[in-house]
């Protein structure tokens, strides 16, 4: 049952227009890295961390790609009214939500990881430790964002609009510039993982959340929003 729904969902989520949008968004950090390589004298490491990791990857590419995919994972079924094809089966709500989450992560992960790995290899001159730390942070943050946006897609028909507002107003603006509320930002915990895994390089940054806390919070967000999605599917009227 898991396998069937998982593969159907993958096919639902890999429409040509969605893939093109994801490719376009994922290419932006790579272009930024190319620019950084070409202007090596003008950018220091802190600026690169801010512009590439904190802003471009953490506050734009990663959430936008997961938003595009994860809101559609259940949102498409709601919109075209195929959700009842799933809920009117003997499958428990968990058995419906887990393949949907897994398919969203499967589709979102390659462009996000590709973008993160290529851009960090370029910008940080192939530093393996940076690539490992960025990969770890991006993977955990993708899990968290996917579960949040999966829930959003089942909760409102305007999930893309609300998701974009959340990304730009909250993750990009408020928590980017008001340090006191960064504890309410997935991006802050992603940066906590990146900096925690590569302590030698980023240890002097006092704004960063510790590695254990970051990992626990990102996993907790994933679990909590998955539970909320299951609960939502149990209580909602299915169109």
């Amino acid at each position: 049952m898991f396998r069937s729904l998982y593969f159907i969902s993958i096919r639902q989520l890999t429409g040509r227009s969605r893939l093109l949008i994801m490719a376009a968004v994922a290419s932006v950090p790579i272009l930024l890295s190319v620019v950084a390589v070409l202007n090596q004298d003008e950018l220091n490491t802190a600026e690169l961390d801010d512009s590439l990791l904190a802003l471009m990857l953490g506050a734009a590419v990663l959430p936008i790609i997961t938003l595009t995919v994860a809101t559609a994972a259940l949102g498409n079924d709601l919109e075209d009214r195929t959700l009842s094809n799933l809920t009117l089966t003997p499958a428990s709500r968990w058995q419906l939500i887990m393949p949907k989450l897994a398919s969203a992560i499967t589709v979102a992960m390659p462009p996000i990881l590709g973008s993160a790995v290529i851009s960090t290899v370029l910008a940080y001159e192939g530093d393996t430790q940076v690539v490992v730390s960025v990969t770890t942070g991006v993977v955990l943050a993708t899990l968290a964002y996917s579960s949040v946006f999966l829930w959003l897609g089942l909760t409102t028909s305007r999930s893309l609009g609300y998701g974009l507002m959340y990304i730009f107003l909250w993750e990009f603006l408020f928590t980017g510039f008001v340090s006191g509320i960064r504890f309410l930002s997935i991006r802050a915990y992603m940066l906590g993982v990146i900096h925690g895994v590569d302590e030698d390089r980023f240890a002097d940054d006092t704004q960063i959340i510790s590695l254990p806390v970051s990992i626990i919070v990102l996993l907790a967000v994933t679990v909590v929003f998955t539970v909320l999605t299951v609960r939502r599917l149990r209580t909602m009227d299915v169109p």
């Binding site: 049952m1 069937s4 729904l5 159907i8 096919r11 639902q12 075209d80 009214r81 195929t82 009842s84 094809n85 799933l86 809920t87 009117l88 089966t89 003997p90 499958a91 428990s92 709500r93 149990r234 009227d237 299915v238 169109p239």
Partner: protein
């Protein structure tokens, strides 16, 4: 025939009804979609009949567990369908929407439905279900290219693939051509003959008349009548029909019409057309040409005024 007379007795009815609807209401804000509806359904084919917007789909959604009643209770096989997915192993539901995955072939669609219902021999069960709906020839084509009728039939195949004891079908004949309708009806009769329960909704009187053993009539969210179709039909036959007649000499024709035994009353509407009221509309139809010819009146138009389902229902509701 009132809303309270709503326990459907069917030939071969068992002690336990398959579907029990008890004082169910559903409202959306201040709009009442279904109001205090109660009935039981037993094995065989039961039709849920009502005009568009009467509340049929809302009622079916509550029976299938897709929506919760605002008040009252629904039980299927003695259990609530809400948050009870195990029950769907015994139920097949076909909604009114053309909800298919256009990128799948018909066979893939039915096999997916079979896998989601833990059917043991997926390939064989799917092939049998597709053959049952007569679509084996199109099974390996993408569903996005199917006609509406074909989509409906393939959806029916997906609905019956796990051999459910109860089938709930919302307007299943929409988009089907006459040949497909006959095929559909024969298939449903065959399932009912096997002891299954088929609960089917429609807004078309004739569709239910030819298919269902028993009917539930719903109008404005309320149960207007229920029971054996023939009893309801007899009640309908007692109702006077109104026929509007446009002719060259209304007063001359009116004097002739009032002399007919089967005409109860004749009025002239503001446009000068005659409104004849009769309990035997066939007799009126036969007499009208002869009468107009003898009176030297030219008939311009003859039209029934209350042939629609809505008028039938309002008659049943208001008496």
């Amino acid at each position: 025939m009132t809303a309270s007379a709503n326990r459907i007795a069917q030939p071969g009815a068992t002690a336990n009804p398959v579907i029990q609807v008890e004082s169910v209401s559903r409202w959306f804000g201040s709009v009442v979609s279904v109001s205090d509806v109660s009935f039981d359904v037993y094995p065989g084919i039961t039709g849920l009949l009502g005009p568009n917007g009467a509340g049929k789909t809302t009622l079916l959604r509550m029976i299938t567990g897709l929506a919760a009643p605002s008040e009252g209770a629904v039980r299927v096989f003695g259990e609530s369908t809400r948050n009870n997915p195990e029950l769907y192993a015994r139920i097949g539901v076909m909604s009114e929407h053309e909800a298919v995955y256009g990128f799948l072939t018909g066979r893939e669609f039915v096999e997916f439905a079979a896998k989601m219902r833990n059917v043991e021999n997926v390939k064989q069960a799917s092939a049998d279900a597709i053959e049952n709906v007569g679509l084996t020839f199109a099974a390996d084509r993408k569903m996005g290219g199917y006609s509406r009728g074909m989509k409906q039939r393939m959806r029916l195949a997906a609905t019956i693939v796990h051999n459910p004891d109860l089938l709930i079908l919302d307007e299943p004949l929409n988009g089907a051509d006459p040949r497909q309708r006959v095929h559909f009806q024969n298939l449903l009769r065959g399932l009912a003959a096997q002891g299954k329960t088929v609960f089917v909704s429609s807004h078309i009187l004739e569709e239910i008349e030819t298919l269902a053993d028993s009917v539930l009539l719903i109008v404005n969210g309320k149960l207007a009548a229920s029971g054996d179709y023939r009893a309801i039909r007899a009640a309908l036959n007692e109702r006077p029909y109104h026929v509007r007649i446009v002719c060259s000499e209304p007063r001359s024709l009116a004097s002739g019409l009032v002399g007919l035994e089967d005409v109860d009353a004749v009025n002239i509407d503001p446009d000068g057309a005659l409104i004849a009221q009769s309990r035997n509309v066939l007799s009126l139809q036969m007499a009208l040409p002869r009468l107009s010819q003898s009176a030297g009146v030219r008939l311009l138009r003859v039209e029934p005024l209350d042939d629609s389902l809505e008028s039938v229902f309002s008659y049943l509701v208001t008496g």
